[in-house]
Subunit: 278 residues, 2 copies
Protein backbone atom coordinates (compact mmCIF):
# COMPACT_ATOMS: atom_id res chain seq x y z
CA UNK A 1 0.00 0.00 0.00
CA UNK A 2 2.88 2.40 0.58
CA UNK A 3 4.16 3.84 -2.71
CA UNK A 4 7.16 6.15 -3.09
CA UNK A 5 6.30 9.23 -5.16
CA UNK A 6 8.13 12.57 -5.32
CA UNK A 7 10.45 11.36 -2.54
CA UNK A 8 7.40 11.17 -0.27
CA UNK A 9 5.91 8.01 1.08
CA UNK A 10 2.25 7.59 0.22
CA UNK A 11 -0.32 5.70 2.21
CA UNK A 12 -3.62 5.33 0.43
CA UNK A 13 -5.21 3.35 3.22
CA UNK A 14 -8.36 4.96 4.56
CA UNK A 15 -8.98 7.08 7.63
CA UNK A 16 -11.63 5.42 9.81
CA UNK A 17 -14.02 7.76 11.60
CA UNK A 18 -16.75 6.78 14.03
CA UNK A 19 -19.38 8.49 16.10
CA UNK A 20 -22.39 7.45 18.18
CA UNK A 21 -24.58 8.67 15.32
CA UNK A 22 -24.40 11.21 12.57
CA UNK A 23 -22.82 14.13 14.44
CA UNK A 24 -19.35 12.87 13.49
CA UNK A 25 -20.10 13.91 9.92
CA UNK A 26 -19.16 17.47 10.96
CA UNK A 27 -15.62 16.12 11.43
CA UNK A 28 -15.82 14.23 8.10
CA UNK A 29 -16.83 17.47 6.36
CA UNK A 30 -13.72 19.14 7.77
CA UNK A 31 -11.50 16.18 6.80
CA UNK A 32 -12.84 16.27 3.21
CA UNK A 33 -12.05 19.97 3.07
CA UNK A 34 -8.62 19.77 4.71
CA UNK A 35 -7.46 16.49 3.11
CA UNK A 36 -9.31 16.11 -0.22
CA UNK A 37 -7.28 13.06 -1.38
CA UNK A 38 -7.88 10.90 1.68
CA UNK A 39 -10.21 7.90 1.66
CA UNK A 40 -12.66 7.83 4.55
CA UNK A 41 -14.70 5.00 6.10
CA UNK A 42 -17.34 6.30 8.50
CA UNK A 43 -19.34 4.33 11.04
CA UNK A 44 -22.33 5.95 12.80
CA UNK A 45 -23.79 3.81 15.59
CA UNK A 46 -27.34 5.02 14.92
CA UNK A 47 -28.89 1.82 16.35
CA UNK A 48 -27.49 2.63 19.81
CA UNK A 49 -27.22 6.43 19.76
CA UNK A 50 -26.95 8.42 22.05
CA UNK A 51 -23.80 7.48 23.98
CA UNK A 52 -23.83 10.63 26.14
CA UNK A 53 -26.40 9.43 28.64
CA UNK A 54 -25.11 5.85 29.00
CA UNK A 55 -22.79 4.38 31.66
CA UNK A 56 -19.00 4.32 31.16
CA UNK A 57 -18.99 0.51 31.01
CA UNK A 58 -21.51 0.48 28.16
CA UNK A 59 -19.73 3.26 26.26
CA UNK A 60 -16.38 1.42 26.47
CA UNK A 61 -17.99 -1.79 25.17
CA UNK A 62 -19.61 0.07 22.27
CA UNK A 63 -16.34 1.84 21.36
CA UNK A 64 -14.48 -1.49 21.26
CA UNK A 65 -17.04 -2.82 18.80
CA UNK A 66 -16.93 0.35 16.69
CA UNK A 67 -13.12 0.13 16.34
CA UNK A 68 -13.19 -3.62 15.62
CA UNK A 69 -15.69 -2.98 12.84
CA UNK A 70 -13.53 -0.26 11.23
CA UNK A 71 -10.45 -2.50 11.39
CA UNK A 72 -12.10 -4.75 8.80
CA UNK A 73 -11.11 -2.11 6.28
CA UNK A 74 -7.62 -1.11 5.30
CA UNK A 75 -7.26 1.63 7.91
CA UNK A 76 -4.21 3.77 8.72
CA UNK A 77 -5.73 5.95 11.45
CA UNK A 78 -8.93 6.05 13.47
CA UNK A 79 -10.66 9.29 14.43
CA UNK A 80 -13.04 9.11 17.39
CA UNK A 81 -15.34 11.93 16.34
CA UNK A 82 -17.69 11.47 19.29
CA UNK A 83 -17.01 13.74 22.26
CA UNK A 84 -18.42 11.18 24.69
CA UNK A 85 -16.42 8.24 23.28
CA UNK A 86 -13.22 10.36 23.19
CA UNK A 87 -13.77 11.46 26.78
CA UNK A 88 -14.90 8.25 28.42
CA UNK A 89 -13.29 5.41 26.42
CA UNK A 90 -10.29 6.58 24.39
CA UNK A 91 -7.56 6.28 27.03
CA UNK A 92 -8.93 2.87 28.09
CA UNK A 93 -9.07 1.28 24.63
CA UNK A 94 -6.11 2.95 22.87
CA UNK A 95 -3.49 0.53 24.21
CA UNK A 96 -5.49 -2.46 22.99
CA UNK A 97 -5.13 -1.63 19.31
CA UNK A 98 -2.06 -1.15 17.12
CA UNK A 99 -3.64 1.45 14.83
CA UNK A 100 -3.15 5.09 15.91
CA UNK A 101 -6.37 6.48 17.40
CA UNK A 102 -7.06 10.22 17.56
CA UNK A 103 -9.81 11.73 19.72
CA UNK A 104 -11.37 15.19 19.70
CA UNK A 105 -10.32 16.29 23.19
CA UNK A 106 -6.63 17.16 22.68
CA UNK A 107 -7.00 19.15 19.44
CA UNK A 108 -9.91 21.15 20.92
CA UNK A 109 -8.04 21.85 24.14
CA UNK A 110 -4.92 23.06 22.30
CA UNK A 111 -7.05 25.46 20.24
CA UNK A 112 -8.95 26.77 23.26
CA UNK A 113 -5.73 27.44 25.18
CA UNK A 114 -4.33 29.35 22.19
CA UNK A 115 -7.49 31.51 22.03
CA UNK A 116 -8.21 32.44 25.64
CA UNK A 117 -7.00 35.83 26.89
CA UNK A 118 -8.79 35.82 30.23
CA UNK A 119 -7.51 32.27 30.91
CA UNK A 120 -11.08 31.23 31.67
CA UNK A 121 -12.40 28.43 29.42
CA UNK A 122 -15.92 27.00 29.45
CA UNK A 123 -16.67 23.41 28.39
CA UNK A 124 -20.10 22.16 27.36
CA UNK A 125 -20.98 18.56 26.47
CA UNK A 126 -23.18 15.55 27.18
CA UNK A 127 -23.55 14.39 30.81
CA UNK A 128 -21.03 11.54 30.25
CA UNK A 129 -18.46 13.87 28.69
CA UNK A 130 -18.77 16.43 31.49
CA UNK A 131 -18.71 13.77 34.23
CA UNK A 132 -15.54 12.28 32.72
CA UNK A 133 -13.71 15.62 33.30
CA UNK A 134 -11.63 14.79 30.18
CA UNK A 135 -11.42 18.40 28.99
CA UNK A 136 -10.80 19.80 32.47
CA UNK A 137 -7.94 17.34 33.10
CA UNK A 138 -6.41 17.92 29.70
CA UNK A 139 -6.43 21.72 30.15
CA UNK A 140 -4.97 21.38 33.66
CA UNK A 141 -2.06 19.35 32.21
CA UNK A 142 -1.36 21.64 29.27
CA UNK A 143 -2.04 25.02 30.90
CA UNK A 144 -2.20 24.85 34.69
CA UNK A 145 -2.86 28.62 34.92
CA UNK A 146 -6.15 28.37 32.99
CA UNK A 147 -9.39 28.11 34.96
CA UNK A 148 -12.12 25.81 33.62
CA UNK A 149 -15.90 25.84 34.07
CA UNK A 150 -17.99 22.98 32.69
CA UNK A 151 -21.69 22.38 32.18
CA UNK A 152 -23.64 19.38 30.84
CA UNK A 153 -26.29 20.34 28.26
CA UNK A 154 -28.39 17.16 27.89
CA UNK A 155 -31.19 18.76 25.86
CA UNK A 156 -28.90 20.18 23.13
CA UNK A 157 -28.68 16.88 21.18
CA UNK A 158 -32.47 16.31 20.98
CA UNK A 159 -32.97 19.99 20.12
CA UNK A 160 -30.55 19.72 17.16
CA UNK A 161 -31.98 16.37 16.01
CA UNK A 162 -35.44 17.94 15.91
CA UNK A 163 -34.32 21.05 14.03
CA UNK A 164 -34.65 23.45 17.02
CA UNK A 165 -31.48 25.33 16.11
CA UNK A 166 -32.34 29.00 16.51
CA UNK A 167 -35.82 29.50 17.96
CA UNK A 168 -37.31 30.56 21.29
CA UNK A 169 -37.09 27.08 22.83
CA UNK A 170 -33.42 26.69 21.83
CA UNK A 171 -32.63 30.14 23.26
CA UNK A 172 -34.43 29.47 26.57
CA UNK A 173 -32.62 26.15 27.06
CA UNK A 174 -29.26 27.69 26.03
CA UNK A 175 -29.79 30.57 28.47
CA UNK A 176 -30.41 28.17 31.32
CA UNK A 177 -27.36 26.02 30.51
CA UNK A 178 -24.95 28.85 29.68
CA UNK A 179 -25.85 31.34 32.44
CA UNK A 180 -23.30 29.86 34.91
CA UNK A 181 -20.50 30.09 32.29
CA UNK A 182 -21.48 33.68 31.48
CA UNK A 183 -21.33 34.58 35.17
CA UNK A 184 -17.81 33.15 35.33
CA UNK A 185 -16.79 35.43 32.43
CA UNK A 186 -15.25 32.72 30.24
CA UNK A 187 -13.95 34.11 26.92
CA UNK A 188 -13.71 30.73 25.13
CA UNK A 189 -16.10 27.78 25.00
CA UNK A 190 -15.30 24.26 23.81
CA UNK A 191 -18.42 22.79 22.16
CA UNK A 192 -17.62 19.28 23.41
CA UNK A 193 -20.25 17.40 21.39
CA UNK A 194 -20.49 17.00 17.61
CA UNK A 195 -24.07 18.29 17.57
CA UNK A 196 -23.36 21.59 19.28
CA UNK A 197 -21.77 23.47 16.34
CA UNK A 198 -25.25 23.43 14.77
CA UNK A 199 -26.40 25.56 17.74
CA UNK A 200 -23.53 28.03 17.21
CA UNK A 201 -25.77 31.01 16.38
CA UNK A 202 -27.88 30.49 19.49
CA UNK A 203 -24.84 29.94 21.73
CA UNK A 204 -23.27 33.12 20.27
CA UNK A 205 -26.40 35.17 20.95
CA UNK A 206 -26.58 33.98 24.55
CA UNK A 207 -22.85 34.36 25.31
CA UNK A 208 -22.30 37.61 23.40
CA UNK A 209 -19.88 38.47 20.59
CA UNK A 210 -16.62 38.46 22.58
CA UNK A 211 -16.67 34.75 23.32
CA UNK A 212 -14.78 32.36 20.98
CA UNK A 213 -16.36 28.99 20.20
CA UNK A 214 -14.12 25.97 19.55
CA UNK A 215 -15.44 23.18 17.28
CA UNK A 216 -13.56 19.96 18.19
CA UNK A 217 -14.43 18.29 14.85
CA UNK A 218 -12.77 21.07 12.86
CA UNK A 219 -9.72 21.14 15.15
CA UNK A 220 -9.36 17.37 14.92
CA UNK A 221 -9.34 17.50 11.12
CA UNK A 222 -6.43 19.98 11.28
CA UNK A 223 -4.70 17.75 13.83
CA UNK A 224 -5.04 14.74 11.49
CA UNK A 225 -3.42 16.75 8.71
CA UNK A 226 -0.43 17.56 10.92
CA UNK A 227 -0.23 13.92 12.06
CA UNK A 228 -0.17 12.56 8.48
CA UNK A 229 2.31 15.25 7.48
CA UNK A 230 4.71 14.30 10.28
CA UNK A 231 4.52 10.61 9.39
CA UNK A 232 4.60 11.41 5.66
CA UNK A 233 1.59 9.16 5.16
CA UNK A 234 -0.75 11.30 3.09
CA UNK A 235 -2.81 9.50 0.45
CA UNK A 236 -1.66 10.26 -3.09
CA UNK A 237 -4.84 9.17 -4.76
CA UNK A 238 -8.39 8.59 -3.76
CA UNK A 239 -9.92 5.16 -4.43
CA UNK A 240 -13.01 4.72 -6.59
CA UNK A 241 -15.16 4.59 -3.49
CA UNK A 242 -13.49 7.45 -1.67
CA UNK A 243 -16.18 7.87 0.98
CA UNK A 244 -17.97 4.91 2.55
CA UNK A 245 -20.59 5.25 5.27
CA UNK A 246 -21.93 2.50 7.54
CA UNK A 247 -24.71 2.71 10.12
CA UNK A 248 -26.39 0.34 12.60
CA UNK A 249 -29.95 1.55 11.89
CA UNK A 250 -32.05 2.97 9.05
CA UNK A 251 -30.13 4.17 6.01
CA UNK A 252 -32.90 6.55 4.88
CA UNK A 253 -32.94 8.51 8.14
CA UNK A 254 -29.14 8.79 8.11
CA UNK A 255 -29.02 10.02 4.52
CA UNK A 256 -31.68 12.61 5.22
CA UNK A 257 -30.22 14.09 8.43
CA UNK A 258 -26.64 13.40 7.30
CA UNK A 259 -27.01 15.83 4.41
CA UNK A 260 -27.64 18.54 7.04
CA UNK A 261 -24.39 17.75 8.89
CA UNK A 262 -22.29 17.12 5.78
CA UNK A 263 -23.83 20.03 3.90
CA UNK A 264 -24.00 17.95 0.73
CA UNK A 265 -26.46 15.42 -0.62
CA UNK A 266 -26.02 11.80 0.56
CA UNK A 267 -27.55 9.23 -1.75
CA UNK A 268 -26.94 5.49 -2.22
CA UNK A 269 -23.63 5.65 -0.35
CA UNK A 270 -24.68 4.27 3.03
CA UNK A 271 -24.71 0.61 4.13
CA UNK A 272 -26.30 -0.95 7.19
CA UNK A 273 -24.35 -3.40 9.38
CA UNK A 274 -24.98 -5.40 12.58
CA UNK A 275 -22.55 -3.85 15.07
CA UNK A 276 -23.36 -6.49 17.68
CA UNK A 277 -21.37 -9.01 15.58
CA UNK A 278 -18.10 -7.13 16.25
Amino acid sequence: MRIEKNNQKADNRAIGVFDSGLGGLTAVKELMHTLPKENIVYFGDTGRVPYGTRSNETIIKYVHQDIRFLLNFNIKLIVVACGTASSVALEKVRTQFEVPIVGVVKPAVEKAISLTHSKRIGIIGTPSTINSKSYVRSIAQMAPDVKTFDKACPLFVPLVENGYLDNQVARLVAQEYLEPLKKERVDTIIMGCTHYPLLKETICKVMGEGVALVDPGAETAKYVKTFLDEKKTFAHEASKQQYRYFVSDSIAHFEELGSLFLQKKMQNCVEKIDIEQY
Copy 2:
Protein backbone atom coordinates in the same frame (compact mmCIF):
# COMPACT_ATOMS: atom_id res chain seq x y z
CA MET B 1 -47.55 -24.09 39.35
CA ARG B 2 -51.36 -24.10 39.13
CA ILE B 3 -52.95 -24.69 42.54
CA GLU B 4 -56.67 -25.13 43.17
CA LYS B 5 -57.87 -22.88 46.03
CA ASN B 6 -61.43 -21.76 46.80
CA ASN B 7 -62.57 -23.47 43.60
CA GLN B 8 -60.38 -21.05 41.65
CA LYS B 9 -57.28 -21.97 39.72
CA ALA B 10 -54.21 -20.07 40.82
CA ASP B 11 -51.23 -19.22 38.67
CA ASN B 12 -48.38 -17.78 40.63
CA ARG B 13 -46.13 -17.43 37.60
CA ALA B 14 -44.95 -13.86 37.03
CA ILE B 15 -46.17 -11.19 34.64
CA GLY B 16 -43.30 -10.08 32.38
CA VAL B 17 -43.24 -6.39 31.49
CA PHE B 18 -40.79 -4.68 29.17
CA ASP B 19 -40.15 -1.21 27.85
CA SER B 20 -37.41 0.55 25.90
CA GLY B 21 -36.30 2.14 29.18
CA LEU B 22 -37.86 3.15 32.44
CA GLY B 23 -41.14 4.64 31.19
CA GLY B 24 -42.80 1.23 31.46
CA LEU B 25 -42.59 1.58 35.23
CA THR B 26 -45.74 3.73 35.02
CA ALA B 27 -47.55 0.55 33.88
CA VAL B 28 -45.84 -1.47 36.64
CA LYS B 29 -47.05 1.05 39.22
CA GLU B 30 -50.62 0.54 37.97
CA LEU B 31 -50.21 -3.27 37.97
CA MET B 32 -48.94 -3.22 41.56
CA HIS B 33 -51.95 -1.13 42.55
CA THR B 34 -54.54 -3.14 40.58
CA LEU B 35 -53.10 -6.63 41.19
CA PRO B 36 -51.16 -6.52 44.48
CA LYS B 37 -50.56 -10.31 44.65
CA GLU B 38 -48.97 -10.69 41.21
CA ASN B 39 -45.25 -11.29 40.72
CA ILE B 40 -43.63 -8.99 38.17
CA VAL B 41 -40.39 -9.29 36.17
CA TYR B 42 -39.51 -6.02 34.44
CA PHE B 43 -36.96 -5.45 31.70
CA GLY B 44 -35.95 -1.90 30.71
CA ASP B 45 -33.71 -1.76 27.62
CA THR B 46 -31.80 1.26 28.91
CA GLY B 47 -28.68 0.37 26.89
CA ARG B 48 -30.58 0.91 23.63
CA VAL B 49 -33.27 3.42 24.59
CA PRO B 50 -35.00 5.22 22.85
CA TYR B 51 -36.92 2.96 20.45
CA GLY B 52 -39.18 5.74 19.17
CA THR B 53 -36.71 7.23 16.70
CA ARG B 54 -35.36 3.91 15.33
CA SER B 55 -36.38 2.02 12.19
CA ASN B 56 -39.12 -0.65 12.30
CA GLU B 57 -36.60 -3.39 11.49
CA THR B 58 -34.43 -2.47 14.46
CA ILE B 59 -37.41 -2.14 16.82
CA ILE B 60 -38.72 -5.61 15.83
CA LYS B 61 -35.28 -7.15 16.42
CA TYR B 62 -35.01 -5.50 19.85
CA VAL B 63 -38.54 -6.61 20.84
CA HIS B 64 -37.72 -10.23 19.94
CA GLN B 65 -34.70 -10.09 22.22
CA ASP B 66 -36.69 -8.46 25.03
CA ILE B 67 -39.34 -11.21 24.93
CA ARG B 68 -36.74 -14.00 24.70
CA PHE B 69 -35.04 -12.59 27.79
CA LEU B 70 -38.30 -12.49 29.80
CA LEU B 71 -39.14 -16.08 28.79
CA ASN B 72 -36.18 -17.23 30.90
CA PHE B 73 -38.42 -16.65 33.88
CA ASN B 74 -41.59 -18.49 34.73
CA ILE B 75 -43.91 -16.12 32.86
CA LYS B 76 -47.67 -16.41 32.30
CA LEU B 77 -48.22 -13.18 30.37
CA ILE B 78 -46.09 -10.49 28.76
CA VAL B 79 -47.03 -6.81 28.81
CA VAL B 80 -45.40 -4.64 26.15
CA ALA B 81 -45.46 -1.37 28.11
CA CYS B 82 -43.66 0.58 25.37
CA GLY B 83 -45.96 2.49 23.01
CA THR B 84 -43.45 2.22 20.17
CA ALA B 85 -42.87 -1.54 20.60
CA SER B 86 -46.64 -2.17 20.91
CA SER B 87 -47.31 -0.13 17.78
CA VAL B 88 -44.49 -1.25 15.51
CA ALA B 89 -43.63 -4.81 16.57
CA LEU B 90 -46.46 -6.47 18.51
CA GLU B 91 -48.54 -7.83 15.62
CA LYS B 92 -45.40 -9.05 13.88
CA VAL B 93 -43.91 -10.96 16.84
CA ARG B 94 -47.06 -12.19 18.64
CA THR B 95 -47.52 -15.30 16.50
CA GLN B 96 -43.94 -16.40 17.12
CA PHE B 97 -44.42 -16.97 20.84
CA GLU B 98 -46.83 -19.20 22.77
CA VAL B 99 -47.14 -16.91 25.78
CA PRO B 100 -50.00 -14.37 25.60
CA ILE B 101 -48.67 -10.90 24.83
CA VAL B 102 -50.61 -7.73 25.68
CA GLY B 103 -49.76 -4.31 24.24
CA VAL B 104 -50.88 -0.83 25.29
CA VAL B 105 -52.73 0.12 22.09
CA LYS B 106 -56.00 -1.82 22.41
CA PRO B 107 -56.73 -0.98 26.09
CA ALA B 108 -56.01 2.73 25.44
CA VAL B 109 -58.18 2.81 22.32
CA GLU B 110 -61.14 1.16 24.10
CA LYS B 111 -60.93 3.73 26.89
CA ALA B 112 -60.65 6.67 24.48
CA ILE B 113 -63.69 5.51 22.48
CA SER B 114 -65.71 5.21 25.70
CA LEU B 115 -64.75 8.76 26.71
CA THR B 116 -65.18 10.81 23.54
CA HIS B 117 -68.42 12.74 23.06
CA SER B 118 -67.40 14.74 20.01
CA LYS B 119 -66.09 11.57 18.34
CA ARG B 120 -62.79 13.36 17.72
CA ILE B 121 -59.76 11.70 19.32
CA GLY B 122 -56.18 12.99 19.29
CA ILE B 123 -53.18 10.67 19.48
CA ILE B 124 -49.69 11.78 20.51
CA GLY B 125 -46.57 9.57 20.55
CA THR B 126 -43.01 9.07 19.33
CA PRO B 127 -42.31 9.41 15.58
CA SER B 128 -42.27 5.59 15.16
CA THR B 129 -45.57 5.14 16.99
CA ILE B 130 -47.30 7.87 14.97
CA ASN B 131 -45.84 6.63 11.66
CA SER B 132 -47.09 3.12 12.42
CA LYS B 133 -50.72 4.43 12.51
CA SER B 134 -51.41 1.68 15.10
CA TYR B 135 -53.84 3.80 17.15
CA VAL B 136 -55.55 5.27 14.08
CA ARG B 137 -56.13 1.80 12.57
CA SER B 138 -57.32 0.33 15.84
CA ILE B 139 -59.87 3.16 16.35
CA ALA B 140 -61.06 2.85 12.74
CA GLN B 141 -61.75 -0.86 13.34
CA MET B 142 -63.50 -0.45 16.67
CA ALA B 143 -65.39 2.80 16.01
CA PRO B 144 -65.50 3.75 12.34
CA ASP B 145 -67.52 6.91 13.13
CA VAL B 146 -64.70 8.41 15.25
CA LYS B 147 -62.31 10.87 13.59
CA THR B 148 -58.65 10.70 14.58
CA PHE B 149 -55.88 13.32 14.53
CA ASP B 150 -52.30 12.32 15.36
CA LYS B 151 -49.10 14.20 16.08
CA ALA B 152 -45.55 13.01 16.80
CA CYS B 153 -43.96 14.80 19.79
CA PRO B 154 -40.27 13.81 19.56
CA LEU B 155 -39.04 16.29 22.19
CA PHE B 156 -41.42 15.11 24.94
CA VAL B 157 -39.22 12.12 25.98
CA PRO B 158 -36.00 14.15 26.40
CA LEU B 159 -37.97 16.89 28.20
CA VAL B 160 -39.31 14.37 30.74
CA GLU B 161 -35.93 12.64 31.16
CA ASN B 162 -34.37 16.01 31.98
CA GLY B 163 -37.08 17.01 34.44
CA TYR B 164 -38.68 19.66 32.21
CA LEU B 165 -42.20 18.69 33.25
CA ASP B 166 -44.01 21.96 33.88
CA ASN B 167 -41.88 24.97 32.94
CA GLN B 168 -41.78 27.54 30.14
CA VAL B 169 -39.81 25.31 27.76
CA ALA B 170 -42.19 22.37 28.27
CA ARG B 171 -45.20 24.67 27.68
CA LEU B 172 -43.72 26.19 24.49
CA VAL B 173 -42.94 22.78 23.02
CA ALA B 174 -46.35 21.41 24.05
CA GLN B 175 -48.10 24.41 22.50
CA GLU B 176 -46.33 23.82 19.21
CA TYR B 177 -47.11 20.08 19.14
CA LEU B 178 -50.69 20.31 20.42
CA GLU B 179 -51.92 23.37 18.47
CA PRO B 180 -53.08 21.25 15.47
CA LEU B 181 -55.09 18.91 17.78
CA LYS B 182 -56.64 21.90 19.55
CA LYS B 183 -57.69 23.36 16.20
CA GLU B 184 -59.38 20.07 15.34
CA ARG B 185 -61.38 20.29 18.60
CA VAL B 186 -60.53 16.81 19.87
CA ASP B 187 -62.10 16.10 23.29
CA THR B 188 -59.89 13.08 24.15
CA ILE B 189 -56.15 12.55 23.77
CA ILE B 190 -54.31 9.22 23.96
CA MET B 191 -50.87 9.81 25.50
CA GLY B 192 -49.26 7.11 23.35
CA CYS B 193 -45.87 7.00 25.07
CA THR B 194 -45.08 5.92 28.65
CA HIS B 195 -43.26 9.19 29.36
CA TYR B 196 -46.12 11.49 28.48
CA PRO B 197 -48.27 11.03 31.62
CA LEU B 198 -45.49 12.91 33.46
CA LEU B 199 -46.31 15.93 31.24
CA LYS B 200 -50.04 15.65 32.09
CA GLU B 201 -50.25 19.03 33.85
CA THR B 202 -48.62 20.83 30.93
CA ILE B 203 -50.75 19.01 28.33
CA CYS B 204 -53.88 19.85 30.39
CA LYS B 205 -52.95 23.55 30.56
CA VAL B 206 -52.37 23.74 26.80
CA MET B 207 -55.48 21.74 25.79
CA GLY B 208 -57.84 23.20 28.40
CA GLU B 209 -59.98 21.51 31.07
CA GLY B 210 -62.58 19.86 28.82
CA VAL B 211 -60.14 17.43 27.20
CA ALA B 212 -59.77 13.91 28.66
CA LEU B 213 -56.29 12.37 28.73
CA VAL B 214 -55.92 8.58 28.38
CA ASP B 215 -52.88 6.90 30.01
CA PRO B 216 -52.24 3.61 28.15
CA GLY B 217 -50.17 2.17 31.03
CA ALA B 218 -53.06 2.53 33.47
CA GLU B 219 -55.60 1.16 30.99
CA THR B 220 -53.36 -1.81 30.23
CA ALA B 221 -53.09 -2.68 33.92
CA LYS B 222 -56.93 -2.79 34.11
CA TYR B 223 -57.00 -4.88 30.92
CA VAL B 224 -54.53 -7.38 32.45
CA LYS B 225 -56.80 -7.71 35.48
CA THR B 226 -59.78 -8.55 33.24
CA PHE B 227 -57.64 -10.99 31.23
CA LEU B 228 -56.45 -12.90 34.32
CA ASP B 229 -59.98 -12.86 35.71
CA GLU B 230 -61.41 -14.41 32.54
CA LYS B 231 -58.72 -17.12 32.49
CA LYS B 232 -58.97 -17.55 36.26
CA THR B 233 -55.22 -17.30 36.50
CA PHE B 234 -54.66 -14.75 39.26
CA ALA B 235 -51.72 -15.36 41.56
CA HIS B 236 -52.73 -16.43 45.05
CA GLU B 237 -49.50 -15.54 46.70
CA ALA B 238 -46.54 -13.36 45.93
CA SER B 239 -43.08 -14.95 45.87
CA LYS B 240 -40.29 -13.79 48.15
CA GLN B 241 -38.88 -11.67 45.35
CA GLN B 242 -42.19 -10.28 44.13
CA TYR B 243 -40.70 -7.55 41.96
CA ARG B 244 -37.56 -8.08 39.88
CA TYR B 245 -36.09 -5.43 37.60
CA PHE B 246 -33.49 -5.93 34.87
CA VAL B 247 -31.78 -3.30 32.70
CA SER B 248 -29.22 -3.25 29.90
CA ASP B 249 -27.29 -0.22 31.22
CA SER B 250 -26.37 1.45 34.52
CA ILE B 251 -28.32 0.27 37.56
CA ALA B 252 -27.71 3.49 39.51
CA HIS B 253 -29.28 5.73 36.86
CA PHE B 254 -32.30 3.42 36.59
CA GLU B 255 -32.85 3.32 40.35
CA GLU B 256 -32.64 7.09 40.57
CA LEU B 257 -35.02 7.96 37.71
CA GLY B 258 -37.13 4.83 38.28
CA SER B 259 -38.17 6.10 41.70
CA LEU B 260 -39.75 9.08 39.90
CA PHE B 261 -41.82 6.86 37.61
CA LEU B 262 -42.69 4.25 40.24
CA GLN B 263 -43.26 6.85 42.94
CA LYS B 264 -41.47 4.71 45.47
CA LYS B 265 -37.84 4.19 46.39
CA MET B 266 -35.89 1.62 44.32
CA GLN B 267 -32.84 0.24 46.06
CA ASN B 268 -30.79 -2.93 45.50
CA CYS B 269 -33.54 -4.56 43.43
CA VAL B 270 -32.17 -3.98 39.92
CA GLU B 271 -29.84 -6.29 37.95
CA LYS B 272 -27.92 -5.58 34.76
CA ILE B 273 -27.97 -8.05 31.86
CA ASP B 274 -26.48 -8.27 28.36
CA ILE B 275 -29.56 -8.15 26.09
CA GLU B 276 -27.46 -8.83 23.00
CA GLN B 277 -27.10 -12.45 24.20
CA TYR B 278 -30.82 -13.12 23.70
